[in-house]
Symmetry: C2
Subunit: 144 residues, 2 copies
DNA sequence: TTAGATGCAAACGATTTGCGCGGAA
DNA sequence: TTCCGCGCAAATCGTTTGCATCTAA
């Protein structure tokens, strides 16, 4: 487990470029995000992270917030009370969320919105455009 | 102002069908939602509502929650701490949100996702599918 | 008459912030 | 040595819930 993936190193490099220090908490946080195929809440990140480094929830909060500001991490709303986060280097994903149990599936579709983004950027004057697409419904298991 | 729009009446009828009572709070709540062209938070609904009827925040919460369960109201995530709500009878909307100031614009585009919904419903076994599409960026005013 | 709706106040859960110490640069 | 990052603890904020009272049906 002392093996470090090239992704982790380049992410750390990316963070350093953005003025973040190479702390053990940052490293562990990125590792957790890298190893998950789904967006995680701050709590979930904190929990996984603590298997490796003791880390206060406030620290996780500040780390992830900072990463989001630097646009290394993407925030995702879903409808749960807590926000979810994933790395931006991961391909953009669209999600299918169950209204009842909150389960999240990653959709295996070509996102149909990419081309709209440029058009909207041009027309609106918005910068650094980005989007979020989720489908909500009741999953098979929750249909009694 | 004693004029009642046909929409309000049919909404109330819809609510009654769903087992809700015709209380003044419900009426006022629907009125507020009807009169807004943008999704509102519970607080915003409560504030507008109080111009007409005294109403506790907890009541607004329970009203809107109930309306959401009955699928009369749609919940929208955005990235603010508070959830936003709008009526389902309004046409489906997609939004353009500023990451910095939180301003919300309603996009005047044909939603490109409608046809995907059926396909996803079929493939996933999910029921009552619905979706949410938002673009996030930095609005012109926030670009210093 | 009675089950659903409200107000009030307290509990909750997820951030968010102030402050003083410790470690990366 | 300096300034950013961290832990700890307290403050916020947006819900969420329990309970007694009120009211539409």
């Amino acid at each position: 487990m002392s093996q470090t993936s090239p992704d982790l190193e380049s992410l750390l490099e990316d963070c350093a470029q953005n003025g973040l220090r190479r702390t053990s908490a940052l490293r562990a946080c990125l590792k957790v995000l890298l190893s998950s195929d789904q967006p995680l809440t701050l709590q979930e990140i904190g929990a996984k992270l603590n298997q490796e480094v003791e880390c206060d929830p406030a620290t996780v909060y500040r780390l992830v917030t900072r990463l989001e500001e630097k646009r290394i991490v993407r925030r995702i709303g879903f409808h749960s009370r807590a926000a979810h986060y994933c790395l931006r280097i991961s391909a953009h994903q669209d999600y299918l969320v169950c209204r009842d149990c909150g389960s999240v599936e990653v959709l295996d579709i070509a996102c149909p919105v990419e081309h709209l983004e440029k058009q909207i950027a041009t027309e609106s004057g918005f910068r650094d455009l980005d989007h979020e697409l989720e489908f909500y419904g009741q999953c098979a298991a929750c249909q009694v």
